[in-house]
Symmetry: C2
Subunit: 330 residues, 2 copies
DNA sequence: CTGAAAGCGCTTACAG
DNA sequence: CTGAAAGCGCTTACAG
């Protein structure tokens, strides 16, 4: 910039004015400055600008896995809102590891992102307190934070799961299995609570062999599914409720290889669910809407909204397609 | 940092040493500085650090759509490599718009990212010349850049498409339709070239009504598919080659609603392809590998490799599953 | 082992 | 309409 000023024979401030399109420069001066800029290949260094202005016009997004078909649209929605506000998006995957989440979040804070959208993986977010106190707006999405008060956008995991299981009960099922994610994950726990509420609401007992929680890798899910389908103790389950899209996909594979028809309702919609045999009934969330709402809340904070932390809960939608309407088979 | 120094009764440089874990500080001094840091809630401002050091330890990724099931794993792979090198990832979607790509790339350059991985959308990348000259390492992935020399990582689009179409020809198909993306997109053009090469190689004529190019939205693809399946002129096609995963998914939907069985081979693998009826034969690429190779190449440049620009071409793999083995039906 | 000075490339506040 | 000075928060190069 100094070089540009020297070449154009003007002061630094004038170059700054031209670069930022500020008023108060004669057309003639402006032309001279523009010429110097192109001749020297000048490109403004935003690092310096950021240092001086305080705002970075960038926000951070930390989620579990950028490549997961549930989080990818969420991420894209956050990006679109950021773009509409002239901000860039820095994002990273926590891989469901609390320590990695913390490292990422703190790295983003050190870069002085204006705000943060976080899908929490860790079990304690008090490490964020100094950052929030220092002015980093933070919104949690998909799951609530632990240990601090902050804006949060969630789906109705409890209600959605309860409705899905009630749907199976209404079709005559009495022995219904639940295959879910790690119980420390909020969404997994809420969906399990929904399952239990639906069963209890219908006066049905839950045999604990019908509940399987754990990592969503195919091996574990396959093993648990096969165990539940085997005839043991209280009789095999006639229906399954799968608590997220990764689990559902694996269970669909297991069921595809079997004679006996077992009813299935899955939490989370997924592409091509309607073209499977039978088409898969799901409790659908809207990942893009979660992302959009979270980002909008974030920018409202950045614009100075001083309301108390908000908690939004988005509804889910039961989509009957066939697999959830299979009657109980002996 | 000034406050910390004052409170600890030391110089600025000593605080800097402690914050960066540099040697040459007595344990006692270090303790005093640490106390001041926690008491004041000091957090290093990386913007200032970046301004001084020159390197930002961040790279940019610009692709078509973060939420696309093809690009999401590519993006995740780039993130993992960046993480291994201690860098953050800033990314954005161009939405297949050359102007938006340019804006994003230039915004990333203004932030002085150390390097750039780009899936080009625009048709002219000379705007990047000054940036590259200024030292921003750039790698293009999935598609080559136009108008400049740069490192590039591609799939074997031509060979993959030719093999897929040859597979259909070997099953006895003579009238094969091609449904592809916009012809200005490099991958789309290459795959079409592969189709034509396979047909020509078998001495088969191509009726131009069998070739449909355009945006990959469901309406256009559905209309073109239905048109090709209708009996007209040279007779209806008995097989279709779909040139990317978005197109394939729509065509699967169209075929699912029809009596006559039509063979199908799609470019790009996709989740659940093996559970459809019939399971879908595909020419698979490895999006994560594309991303990983591109990012590795980028970091090799950042470490100072001065070789001539490289062009990597990754092989594709034909995965027969059923839909591509359907014989010709009248 | 420790620190004062200069500077990274901008913007802010002010004066002409 | 234009510019000189100070400063954003660090690090670098140097001296003690």
């Amino acid at each position: 910039m100094k070089d540009v000023a020297a070449r154009a024979g003007v002061g630094l401030k004038t170059v700054s004015r031209v670069v930022n399109g500020e008023p108060g420069v004669t057309p003639d001066t402006e032309r001279r400055v523009q010429e110097a800029i192109t001749a020297l290949g000048f490109r403004r260094n935003d690092s310096a600008r950021i240092l001086r202005k305080g705002r970075t016009a960038s926000i951070g997004l930390v989620l579990e896995d950028l490549a997961d078909p549930f989080y990818a649209p969420l991420s894209r929605a956050v990006e679109e809102v950021a773009r509409a506000h002239g901000a860039l998006l820095i994002n990273g995957s926590s891989a469901e590891d609390g320590e990695r989440e913390r490292e990422l979040v703190l790295a983003l804070c050190a870069r002085r992102v204006d705000g943060l959208v976080v899908v929490p993986a860790g079990g304690d977010h008090r490490y964020l307190e100094p950052e929030i106190a220092a002015g980093v707006a933070t919104v949690f999405v998909d799951r609530p934070a632990a240990g601090i008060e902050a804006d949060t956008v969630l789906s109705d995991n409890f209600g959605g799961a309860r409705a899905g299981v009630a749907h199976l009960i209404a079709r005559g099922h009495r022995r219904i299995g639940f295959i879910g994610d790690l119980p420390r994950i909020h969404t997994a726990a809420e969906r399990l609570r929904g399952y239990r509420a639906a069963m209890a609401g219908a006066g049905l007992p839950v045999d604990e062999s019908w509940v399987a929680l754990g990592p969503t890798g195919p091996d574990r899910v396959r093993a648990d599914t096969e165990r539940m389908l085997a005839d043991r103790g209280p009789g095999p389950v006639t229906a399954l409720f799968t608590a997220n899209n990764r689990v559902t996909v694996t269970v669909v594979r297991v069921l595809a290889g079997r004679q006996r028809r077992v009813a299935l309702v899955g939490f989370d919609d997924f592409e091509l669910a309607d073209l499977l045999t039978p088409p898969v009934t799901v409790v659908a969330q809207e990942p893009a809407l979660l992302g959009r709402k979270a980002a909008e809340l974030l920018f409202r904070r950045l614009e100075g909204s001083g309301d108390a932390p908000q908690r939004l809960e988005l509804p889910t939608r039961l989509v009957p397609r066939g697999s959830g309407e299979v009657p109980p088979q002996p």
